[in-house]
Every structure is written in C-alpha cells, then in structure tokens.
Symmetry: C2
Subunit: 305 residues, 2 copies
C-alpha cells in the first residue's frame, strides 16, 4: 500500500481482434482523455484497425506501441502471452502496469511474470465477448454491465490495482478481485466447459451416418442452433484456453460427465422423477441470471419472431 494514486493517461493495446478492438473503441467512447496506441502482429489487421480507428495510433511494432504507456493490455490468445510479453520487454517503461484479457489466469500470470521480471503485472479477464473475432468484430459497449475479474499476485502495488480497477469501471465494467486459481475454476464452469460441450455436440452432429448435415441444419431450431453460436468462436483462442487451463477444465469435465451419466441412467430406467426434479431446479438459475442483468429477459434471447 503506497498511498499514492496512479494515473493512466496512455494505454497500449497489443492484439487488435474482438477484445483489443473493443477495448480501444470503449476507451475512445467512455474515457476519451486516455490516449491509445495499438499493435497487431498481422499487417492486414493493423491496416483494418487504422481504417476503423480502433486505437488512436496503430504502431508497426509492439515495442513502439508500449514505449510511453502507463498501462499495457495484452489481447492475444493465452498461448501467445509469453511471446507477446517478451516482445515488449525491452521497450516497456519501468512504471507501466501490464495486464491482459485472457480467459485463463494462472498460466498468464506465470508467463507474464517470467517474461517481465520486476514489472507490475496484474492479470485480468473481462467476462465478455461474442462468437465473432478479428478487427471488424469489436464495439465500444462490449464490456458494459459485464464483470471484469482482476487476479493480482500477492504483494501487488495497491495504487496500481486501484488504477486498473478504475480503468475497467470507466468502460462500464463491474470489477471483482480474486485469486487466479479460483478464477480458473469458476471460469471452467461458466465458460470453458460450456464451450467444450458446444464444440463437441456440433462436431457429433456433423459426423453422423444416419442423420445428414442438411437435416441437422434444417431442424436446428429445436435447441441445437444455440450451441452453434459459441461453437463458432475463435479456434486459436479456445485451443489455448483448454491447454492452458487444463487442470480446472478436466476437473469440471469430470463433474459434468458424472452428472450426465446419472441422467443417462435415469432415462434408461424410465425414472421420470429424477429428470423432473432437475429440470425444475435449473429454471431458477435462469431467473437469477436475468435478475442480475447478465442476460436479456426476452424469450429466445429476443430473437426476431
């Protein structure tokens, strides 16, 4: 605890896809006094980022983007965090806060600490996104009303933590602080396993002999289409999440398959009561999510009818 406050006047965004682009646009809309620089390793993405004005200045190297930054936010797949951190290490101001938007936090904390010894590293995860990706996908309100989880390592400078919290709040987020290990367990349930299941069922449905792909598509409004949305998410990002949050994902997957096996047994034995009891309990969770403002109340997600 230093008692000082820290100003964030210049933010560098490394990676200009859905998250990085939304971050730049959100700063421009909700915190326009903050200057933004940005970089993406793909020249075509940099070009598109310039056209859309995702950040004030698109730089031609990561080092150039961070050289005057108070805060650097790495918006690359979690498997690329270490490499991105090594790329900026030489140019990073000693006082800059380094953060990220990755979906696994223990791995990111480890990779950033290893690449940037002596720097202030505060991993972060805004729990927000869509199934789209790339420099055309971002929009300023992506983080509005969503939670952003910060996972400061022990001994993190309090002023830096307060500044980073304030930064996310200005973009419309609500901020929570938790241990990285706990984050990884919670998000395994609320994000990683749902994605894994969705990818799996969409894959299963594509590969059947007795049912054609055309039939799967035509009759998808029976529920399947909901799963195809998150199964359309960025493949690189999600490959990296599962590999980097392996332990928590496997633990939660074990719980899920146990529960699925119990339901399978209930169906096989015609035990309608077990099914009915579960199906009644699950309704309450939906209501709570809507009351908490984490989803729309409109039926069918408000799809046009």
């Amino acid at each position: 605890m230093t008692g000082e406050t820290r100003r964030i006047d210049r933010v560098a965004v490394i990676g200009l896809g859905l998250l990085g682009g939304s971050l730049g646009l959100a700063v421009a809309q909700f915190a326009p006094d903050i200057a933004t620089t940005g970089f993406d390793s793909d020249p075509a993405v940099r070009e598109r980022a310039r056209q859309r004005g995702l950040v004030d200045q698109v730089c031609d190297s990561a080092a150039e983007a961070v050289e005057n930054a108070d805060l650097v936010i790495l918006c690359v797949p979690v498997g690329a965090m270490g490499a991105a951190a090594r790329e900026i290490a030489g140019a990073l101001p000693p006082s800059a806060i380094v953060s990220d938007v990755g979906s696994s936090k223990q791995s990111v904390m480890h990779d950033l600490a290893a690449a940037l010894p002596g720097h202030v590293v505060i991993p972060a995860h805004p729990v927000a996104g869509t199934e789209e990706s790339g420099p055309d996908a971002g929009f300023a309100r992506l983080f509005a009303g969503r939670w952003c989880i910060l996972t400061p390592p022990e001994g993190t400078d309090e002023a830096a933590l307060a500044a980073l919290s304030r930064f996310w709040e200005r973009l419309g987020s609500r901020v929570d602080i938790m241990d990285a290990g706990h984050h990884d367990l919670v998000l395994a349930v609320t994000s990683h396993i749902p994605h894994l299941i969705a990818y799996t069922i969409v894959g299963t449905a594509s590969d059947l002999e007795g049912v054609t792909r055309g039939e799967v598509i035509k009759y998808s409004a029976g529920g399947f289409r909901d799963f195809t949305r998150i199964a359309a998410s960025d493949p690189t990002m999600w490959r990296d999440v599962f590999i980097n949050n392996r332990a928590a994902v496997l633990e939660m997957l074990g719980r899920f398959t146990e529960d699925l096996t119990a339901l399978q047994r209930a169906i096989r034995s015609g035990d309608g009561d077990t099914l009915f009891d579960l199906f009644t309990r699950t309704r309450a969770i939906r209501r709570s999510i809507i009351e908490e403002g984490q989803d729309d109340a409109a039926p069918d997600f408000g799809r046009g009818h």
Copy 2:
C-alpha cells in the same frame, strides 16, 4: 390416394400452453377463415386463454371442443397424448384428422393409434418454441419460417396429408414429411440431446462446492448463460420427451460422450491440433444455419449491447 380434397374449416386445439396458444393465435392471424375451439385441463389456463383470446371458443371439456372439428391438434406433453386421445375418442367426428405437436413421434403414433382406432392420425412436430410455457407464452409468429415435420403412418389418406400440410404452410411453416423413426433420431440430435446437456451443465454448476451459485450467475456471460435458456424449458414436457424417445436419445448420447471423451484425452495430452481442427470445422455449421434462415446473423443472438 383418393383424388378428393379435404377442407379444414374448424380446428380444435387440446392444451393451451405455448404451442397450443401460439397455434390458435397463428390461425387467427394467418388463416382467419378457420374457426378454432380449444380446451385445457387446467381451469386457470382456460380462463387465461379466454382473456387472451387464444382460440375463438374455449370449451369446458375436450369432448365439446372436438365435436365439430375437421382437425384436432393435441398440444399436451407427449406422455399425456394417450389420455388426451381417450378423452376425445367418443366425441370425435369420424372424418376428423387427429394430429399433435409433440417432440417424439413413434411414441405418439403408437399412443394415438391405440386410443383412436379407425381414425385418421397424422403425427406432427413443428420445430419451434421458446423457453417459456403456459397460456401467456404463445404468439402468432412462433411457426413462421420454422419446419413442421409430419410423420404419416403407412397408408395415410393422401387428401388428409395434403390438407394438414397446407394448414401448417398457411401458418408460415415449411413442411417436411418423414418416417417417425427417422424423425426421432434426427430430433434426438438437434433438440433432445442439446436440452439434456444444457440441463446437466446447469445442474452441475448449481451443485459445486468450490464455486458458489452467485459466482456462476455473475460470470455466466462467458457462455454458461446460453445454456440456462433451454434449461428453463418446461420440465413436464422434457421429462416426457426423454422417457418417450429413450432409444434414440441414448444412442445419440453414446455418440456425444464418445466424442467428449476424445476431446478430454486431447486436452489431457496437450494435443492442440485435434482441438483446433474440430473448432475450425464447427464454425461452418453456424454459417449454414444462418444462411438457411434458422438463426439470426447478429452476433450474440442480437442481444442488446
């Protein structure tokens, strides 16, 4: 094939929940020359149906509702089809077509044939719905652009089949005709297994020790919230579907768990290529569903941002 045509001037709707109510409203809007009667075994539902005008005339018995009908559509849970059919058997005009909207077709075909020998029975399944239920949930455009699958038994009167097809087309549906057994397999994939998986993961997430229910709700925007929508569907309806389409559900569940186990192994062994390959293939299905008009193209289902 009789060569005659059959007119449908009077439709009786038995069961006035989401599907039955939407049916009545759709007829009033898109086929207003057809008169509708209706019945629900719950007096409170009948009262609400009268207030909303779900059908032209809400009757106080199923027998009264069907006594002049050209077409009777049973809109009750599939486990209640046999009982509903027995209730109308004595009052049903000999020439009336009997159909339904249930999600399993072999069981319904069997139950209706047993209860209504000598009658024209053509089971049907409009692949449409929302997570809501009850007499307040219905709306006229529920079936617009959605597929309605008819599963006529062998030897079904062609004029009756043509009349039923035409009826659904007037409500905005596209009509397909298939074998009941094939229907049950296809819908196990596109509807029943997605619901079972959604119910399971929502149940799993509710019962963890290491993660609180509050955390699950707060961070549900990571993907979990999508699953809570279909896990909020009517418990009675879905209990009956799983019990009545047991064989197809268990077969498809076996396929799903095989595929999930393979992904689990890939995660455990750090085999990112297997994950990446699947995650790339699944994107194509989403695009096809949107091109086919079975889902909105807007990111995140068009949720407000």
